[in-house]
Amino acid sequence: MSVYFTIKSILVVLGLLGSFGFFFIRSCRLIQLMTRMLGSNTIPLDRLSERVKIFFKEVMLQSRVREKRFPGLAHTLIFFGFIAVMPHTIEIMLAGIFPGFSFASIAPGTYRLYAFLADILALLVLLGLAYCVYRRLILKPKYLTNGLDSRLILLFTAIIIVSFFSVNAFRIALNQQTLQDLTRYYVISNPIAGFLGLEHLTRQELIIGLEASYWIHLAVILYFLVYIPGSKHLHILAAIPNVILAPLETPKPMVKTDLEDDTIESFGLGKIDELNWQNVLNLYACTECGRCEEQCPADMTGKPLSPKAVVVDMKDDLIQQSSGNEDTIKPIVRDGSPITEDVIWSCTTCRACESICPLHIQHLDFILEIRKSLVMMESRFPEELQETFTNLEYQFNPWGFAPETRAQWCRGLDVALMSDHPEARILYFVGCAGSFDERGKTVARAIVNLLKKADLDFAILGPEERCTGDAARRAGNEYLAQQLIQANWETINSYRPAKILTGCPHCYNTLKNEYPQFGAMPEVLHHTDFFADLIQNKRLKPNGNLEEIITVHDSCYLCRWNDMIDAPRKILDSIVGLQIREMDRIGRKGLCCGAGGSRMFMEEKIGKRINLERVQEVVATNAETIVAACPFCNTMLNDGVKETASAIAVKDIAEILDLATDSS
């Protein structure tokens, strides 16, 4: 017997050394790969206390994972249980080397509590696993990658837990010294031992059973350790730093590419080695849960884009090309690559993927930067964008209207130009749609009416205004975008208004979150927030009675890019007679209209049209009116309504408020 235990000690030591060594080497390689990237990024360790809070909330308490109820609950059970069995695993690893070792001798009281908790939590793991098996074998949701990798991981986890119980059960049956007063704390293992009738076995048989359980438990754990770095279970390691280092705020600017630096030879993301370390950490962290794919408007309407697939394919490309050097690494979008131009251009930049990702993966950082590379380095973009680019370049609006006619929409409305009234406190940034689109013009007029009803001192830029650059920037034309941004920024700053009011979420997002990259900016407000405040401050008093059943469409650039969900509902609540009937997909989980990310200016050739998908949902509410707060959404919804031949009216929130508000 003692010979066996000597051999066992040696084998355990070798096993541990081998497994941990291999794990260490593979992990080091992954870290090394991160540091070899050409892109630079600082380590975002600002606001530490908030990050610590996020660690407890999202990692330890799994709050974000549980936003998807049952899978989240299952994950939480597995997560807690797995952590709970770890000390036990370490204990028996050490006991393998030093027979008879137990933490119980160090702190018996704590150990009893631990034994009690670990036993229960381990059982809950099996419950979680059962749900996972049910989900993968019976439910089989389309967005879930259901390959060998995920099944192996479930199997390993199940074996580890089952063998945890059997090790305990045999130890109880053997009445091992250290367990004598512990038996009753093993509230699960003890009944298992009884249920299996282990007390009827001989001591010899029990020892064989214990040793067999031990080896199965240890072998699977050691193999699991080696398996992790090469599998999607890498998220066990990468998720924690990824969550802690993730952006703390929802609003974020696109990367500002330095176009002045002569030494930069490539713009955007053309090759996988141009990522920065945090992008790579994002790729490592992905656990292929598919929540992003489930939310993605492109995927659900039959486009080739799945945000999950982009991340997984990027990770595969990274690993495959990791042995290459700068000269041999091939472009990300190339013949045979699963990341095709259609994938990249299908994105509406709605951020549904990022906003749902439990691990804060920033999918758009990849997609938008790849667009930039395609456009700026290779002039590869959907041909219909050419017209938009040319118009933006020469006429400063996407449709090619003469810039000097930009203020014609407000003829007869007595709206001052900033050039005539430079001391105006509020600059109303009308935007291209408000200036040129007939539908947009009616919204712009409603906004002007409301500003006048609230007796506010405002002016517009008129011919001095240009497109904010959103369309060009999200279509990858950073150069054109920066030209527009620079010119607008200089104009705005020559007047220095106290506030900028926008009538378009795209203008709002760009002015608010991206212009500060070019210099200080006044406060920027979108009209929903602005009017909601005016109502609250009693500057606007909606007094009309609108008997209407209404449903709210959230613009992506408000609800997901800027966390603005309540404002339109507050405004509607203030109007007597309106009855809000919400759709299923609203707020952070709202469905895009299909126009974001410059998709407004591209053809939607593949799959079902996104606006139709959305409008069918609207129709199902039986609402009479759908309210949006974005000229692009208005256009897309309007087109969709016509296609479904329904009688739903598409209105901007400003139009409704204007209708319900008399002049004071």
Binding site: F401, D437, E438
Partner: protein, 322 residues
């Protein structure tokens, strides 16, 4: 006398009318004209070319016969012909083919190139082109040994000046190692090119179904118009994308644009706002297009368009405009 080559373009083996404007431009400046024909149709188009004062038609071919369309080979063949006949200036059209060919020829000759000219004074090497959507006109003077000008189609009024032409065969060798054309995909579409049409009649969602486009084609045929469609009609599958007018389709500037059953979203308007005259037929008096057109008929297009066809037939007779 300056020797000027005119690159003759064809569509479906028929000489394009827009060539005559280019010929007229060079002829009126007293140049010695060489019409360069590469597709083997030199003899066939001699009659038409001599109506506009062409005396020499150069039939450029390889040993094997006429040259198949191939931008690299054609460019080299034109350069060889220019060299052989001592042609220093080449005028062509700023068309799809011209955009493909003229820059290649300019590159081969290391010659200055001005595209989209609205006028050229050949002996001063000065070309005019409009900029910033027609708000300014730039005069561009170029220096060099050879000069290449791409003329904007229809920019110069054609004027006949009949004479007698001869066809001069010119054989050139073309190397085989140039780009290999794997496949030529032809877009099927009927009728006249949207971007070159003087009159366009377009249908939108109001057309209701694909078959109804027939009444537009019928009307278009009477007046030699092209038929367009709005994005809504194209998305619904009633018309091919090649017919789409608008932000993501063709940008057109015909003399007359007739919009039938089109509400006129900004995306559509962007593609036809430079039309000389816009006429809209729509049942909705509130449609956006009412704010952006010269004439507006609140009526069912299925009533109006047939009436229009009938009336136009009476005016132009049974002879179709060409």
């Amino acid at each position: 006398m300056e020797k000027v080559g005119i690159l003759i373009e064809f569509k479906d083996d028929k000489i394009k009318k827009t060539n005559y404007g280019v010929i007229t431009l060079a002829r009126q400046q007293g140049c010695e004209l060489y019409a360069l024909v590469l597709n083997g149709n030199a003899a066939a188009c001699k009659e038409q070319l001599q109506q506009y004062g062409i005396k020499k038609v150069i039939d450029i071919a390889s040993k094997e016969g006429p040259l198949q369309w191939h931008p690299v080979k054609w460019a080299r063949a034109v350069v060889a012909a220019m060299d052989h006949f001592g042609i220093t200036t080449l005028c062509g059209l700023t068309s799809a083919q011209g955009k493909e060919l003229l820059p290649r020829i300019a590159a081969d000759l290391d010659a200055p190139l001005v595209m989209d000219c609205t006028d050229v004074v050949l002996n001063e090497r000065a070309a005019k082109k409009s900029q910033f959507s027609g708000k300014t006109v730039a005069t561009i003077k170029v220096n060099g040994n050879h000069f290449i000008f791409g003329i904007r189609p229809n920019a110069i009024e054609k004027q006949p000046d009949p004479c007698e032409a001869e066809v001069i065969p010119f054989q050139t060798t073309v190397d085989k190692e140039a780009l290999v054309v794997k496949e030529i995909k032809l877009q099927t579409h009927t009728g006249i090119d949207l971007t070159e049409a003087d009159i366009i009649i377009s249908g939108g969602r109001g057309m209701q179904k694909p078959e109804n486009f027939a009444i537009l084609f019928e009307c278009a045929q009477v007046i030699g118009a092209a038929v367009g469609a709005s994005r809504a009609a194209v998305d619904a599958g009633w018309a091919p994308h090649s017919m789409q007018v608008g932000q993501t389709g063709a940008t057109v500037s015909p003399k007359v644009y007739i919009a039938c059953g089109i509400s006129g979203s900004v995306q559509h308007f962007a593609g036809m706002k430079t039309a000389g005259l816009i006429v809209a037929v729509n049942t909705d008096p509130e449609a956006n297009i009412t704010k952006n057109c010269d004439y507006y008929i609140v009526a069912d297009l299925f009533e109006i368009v047939p009436i229009l066809s009938r009336q136009l037939k009476l005016v132009v007779g049974e002879n179709h405009l060409t």
